[in-house]
């Protein structure tokens, strides 16, 4: 069962270990009627068949559970349970057998069906295309005129419904675009397909020899393949990103004036309400602390790397994480006026400020469509002038439209992007859509956030091996009782099993100060030096932030110092980027000192204590001066900057808003994901260009032939299929290139860990 071990990439992504409460579970479940409710859980560590059995058996055994079903592909568990009593303890049961689970919002999933509908359209188009092609082959082989006419009629009967069903996607998009006075790829497609069908119908009525039913349906079929793949790619990334832990609060426990407690969704929280916040919960709205002492993790909100203490009177921003003690807080703003909402407004402003990016395919078709249409009209006019045979001129003009219909063009770009997205997926990088890939390839400056991006946003014990092992063991045993990041770091730093509660009489947590453990009559304290040590106890300079002291009855035992640990491969990634001519910058909301240290270690310019608005402005001004910026950040405060940037990436541990705003999300810890993604994007751009050249080259040959009137339905079918096949084959090379490179570097296929960036054809 070793393969069931939770994978590193996901285990670290799930930083919110808060157990969802019953009310939250109810809020996130769906009513199926007949007394049944359905809850979807995202369980990122499901790995194999054994996991499926284990999870299903465990959940099925819970009272109230009707049926539990694991989906291995999406790593989700759907559970049906009988409403009435409290929801079954699904998440707790899963965590008991070793699976981290979190609620998955089924409600925000309105367009779940799009891919299925595209596949259905594709199936219909495939059926129609193959049957019409069969009939056409016999026509081309020289069927007798009556047989030919019969076959044309049958083809027309198959083509009409197929065209109506599968063509809608293209027609409606083309119509929309035309209504706004623009053209996109779908305009020449729709015109070509409709004209081909119309002409063929006319020919069929008049017992003509040539009909293009096969061409028009095959065209739709090929183009639908491209579209469907494009959609599946986006869907897959969307599902993967949405399955990550939700880091914003869904609601909060309100203490009403009459002393009753009620769980309210976020949108119903008003300023002045009193909220009970337990340790491990996120602050739902901007608020002031009324009662209680705690440590607060602001890393997602401000980029501050070290936990802050909070006591009565402290102001907290929405999105910060309450670490150690329960707090009673008073809301000072509604959710719509809180920090999070402010970030969303700034994101919208940044969005409108950014110039809209037109995708390569759309730009190509803007040049392409007029050329094709002018050529077709010119052909018609010249043939009429030359022969005065309108019917023949029209046939030839439509043949020009069919042969130049951007079939290869419609496949050229999506095919490459789908293959690229797949490669990225294998490396743990989720791509939101194809346009992002094109933008990423143009990037020349990379701006990093510090906390959570270059660092992991969690403390790490310095010099663990230099510390007295007995002291460390004792500290780890005490720390086991706390959720404070320092405590977790201590437990993680202790090699081997943590001693089972060494006869500790009691352990209590003093929020803002530390832990106190009584063993017999001795009192051990683990926490801030000034709290742990008795007055007059002299130690080395331990007053800095990020230090904990272990004491015994007020006497000094050991010092533990923590730093925010660097993400693996930060140096390699930054070096690889610099080597390939990227300008790298550090833009952080954290204090000057840690930012400067990290920046000088990496040798990059830095900006510290930058406000979220200034981050976005900084990025926007770089963009305005013509620099294409890739922003890599994770916090709420980075979200506006992510939107303002030309392209953006976020780690899986990023705040929900940032994760949704980013073009790419990387699930692995290693920062090498950034250069890897850029490499794939640039390789993809090269292949897209090659494919466009192939498509144009094909047209350069085919168009004169068509204009001269030598194109028959047979040649049209062959030419079209051939050009599509070439384009697809070329796109598939993307994977081979990367694989070969990895083999050369001697690194495993799944992890391109070499810092070398291969950017051939990049600039």
């Amino acid at each position: 069962m070793t393969c069931c071990a939770p994978s590193v990439e996901f285990a670290d992504a799930v930083i919110d270990r808060r157990r969802a409460k019953n009310d939250e579970m109810l809020l996130a479940s769906r009513d199926l009627g007949e007394g049944l409710r359905q809850t979807s859980l995202s369980v990122p560590t499901i790995h194999c068949g054994a996991c499926i059995q284990k999870i299903e058996k465990t959940l099925d055994a819970l009272p109230g559970v009707e049926q539990a079903r694991v989906n291995l592909s999406t790593k989700r568990v759907t559970t049906r349970w009988r409403a009435g009593g409290a929801p079954p303890p699904l998440i707790e049961s899963l965590s008991r057998i070793g699976y981290e689970a979190h609620l998955y919002d089924a409600a925000v999933d309105p367009k779940d069906d799009t891919v299925a509908k595209m596949v259905r359209a594709l199936a219909v188009a495939g059926f129609a295309a193959s049957n019409i092609m069969l009939l056409s082959v016999s026509v081309w082989s020289g069927a007798e005129p009556p047989t030919r006419d019969l076959f044309h009629w049958i083809s027309a009967l198959i083509a009409l419904p197929a065209l109506a069903y599968c063509g809608r996607i293209f027609f409606s998009s083309a119509w929309q675009s035309l209504r706004h006075g623009q053209t996109n790829m779908d305009v020449p497609i729709s015109i070509g397909v409709l004209f081909a069908f119309g002409l063929s119908l006319y020919e069929t009525f008049n017992r003509g020899p040539h009909a293009y039913f096969d061409a028009s349906i095959t065209l739709l079929f090929f183009l639908l393949i491209g579209r469907t793949l494009d959609h599946m790619m986006r869907e897959r990334a969307r599902v993967a990103v949405k399955g990550l832990a939700r880091l914003a609060a869904r609601g909060a426990l309100i203490l009403q004036p009459d002393g009753k407690q009620i769980y309210l969704p976020l949108s119903e929280i008003r300023p002045g309400m009193t909220i009970l916040l337990t340790a491990g919960e996120r602050v739902p709205v901007n608020c002031r602390v009324l009662k209680g002492q705690s440590d607060v993790d602001c890393s997602l909100v401000s980029g501050e790397s070290m936990p802050q203490t909070a006591g009565p009177g402290s102001m907290l921003q929405a999105g910060t994480l309450n670490l150690t003690g329960p707090l009673t807080i008073a809301a000072t703003a509604a959710a719509k006026d809180s920090f999070l909402a402010e970030m969303i407004r700034m994101m919208e402003a940044a969005e409108s400020g950014r110039s809209t990016y037109r995708r390569i395919a759309d730009r190509a078709s803007r040049l392409y469509a007029p050329v094709v249409h002018v050529a077709a009209v010119a052909t018609f006019v010249s043939w009429v002038a030359a022969t005065a045979d309108v019917h023949r001129a029209l046939t030839i003009a439509i043949a020009v439209l069919i042969i130049t219909c951007p079939c290869a063009l419609g496949l050229a770009v999506p095919m490459v992007q789908v293959v690229a997205a797949r490669r990225l997926f294998e490396q743990g990088i989720m791509l939101k859509d194809g346009g992002a890939l094109e933008r990423l390839a143009e990037v020349e400056t990379v701006v990093f956030d510090k906390t959570g991006t270059l660092t992991l946003g969690e403390p790490w014990l310095i010099d663990g091996s230099a510390i007295d092992p007995d002291a460390l063991e004792l500290a780890a045993a005490i720390a086991l009782h706390s959720q404070h990041p320092y405590s977790r770091a201590l437990v993680a730093a202790h090699q081997g099993p943590v001693p089972s509660p060494i006869s500790m009489t009691s352990v209590s947590e003093h929020p803002g100060s530390g832990l106190e453990a009584c063993i017999g009559t001795t009192v051990h304290r683990l926490g801030r030096p000034e709290w742990a040590l008795a007055d007059g106890e002299v130690t080395q300079s331990v007053s800095e932030i990020g230090t904990m002291v272990l004491s015994k009855d007020g006497r000094y035992l050991a010092t533990f110092q923590f730093v925010d640990r660097l993400r693996p491969d930060v140096r390699e990634a930054v070096a690889a980027l610099a080597e390939n001519g990227f300008a790298v910058e550090l833009l952080s909301g954290d204090r000057e000192e840690p930012v400067r240290q990290l920046a000088s270690a990496l040798g990059v310019p830095h900006y510290s204590a930058v406000s979220p608005a200034d981050k976005a402005t900084h990025i926007a001004s770089m963009g305005a001066s013509g620099r294409k910026v890739l922003m890599v950040g994770d916090g709420l405060n980075d979200a506006p900057a992510l939107v303002a940037a030309h392209a953006s990436m976020a780690p899986a541990s990023a705040a929900d808003v940032g994760r949704n705003a980013a073009d790419l999300v990387f699930l692995r810890e290693s920062l090498l994901s950034v250069p890897q993604a850029i490499t794939v994007a640039r390789n993809a751009r090269r292949l897209v260009r090659e494919n466009l050249i192939i498509a144009v080259g094909y047209n350069a040959i085919a168009m004169p032939v068509a204009i001269l009137g030598y194109v028959t339905p047979l040649t049209a079918a062959v030419a079209m299929s051939l050009s599509s096949l070439i384009v697809v084959a070329n796109a598939l090379r993307l994977g081979d290139d990367l694989r070969r490179k990895q083999r050369k570097d001697g690194s495993p296929t799944s992890n391109l860990s070499s810092p070398q960036l291969a950017l051939e054809g990049g600039k």
């Binding site: 068949g49 592909s73 799009t114 996607i169």
Partner: protein, 69 residues
């Protein structure tokens, strides 16, 4: 010519059967979890899929996605 009378409807009907089978398999959720299906074949448990519940008023047309772009 009389052969066509049988053969063409037969060919089309066979094609239709194939299409209908595919559409049915799509609808019955057989492509929902391809990785899971590969793993489940080794287990002896009954494994009936949870059929998706049709939600009222949420059936976007195919073109919707494109209309928005």
């Amino acid at each position: 010519m009389t052969d066509f009378f049988y053969l063409i409807p037969l060919a089309l009907a066979l094609g239709m059967v194939g299409l209908a089978t595919f559409l049915w398999s799509l609808k019955s959720g057989q492509y929902e979890d391809l990785d899971g299906a590969a793993a489940r074949i080794l287990s002896n448990e009954a494994d009936n899929p949870i059929v998706k519940v049709q939600q009222p008023n949420s059936s976007p047309e195919i073109g919707d996605e494109f209309l928005k772009n």
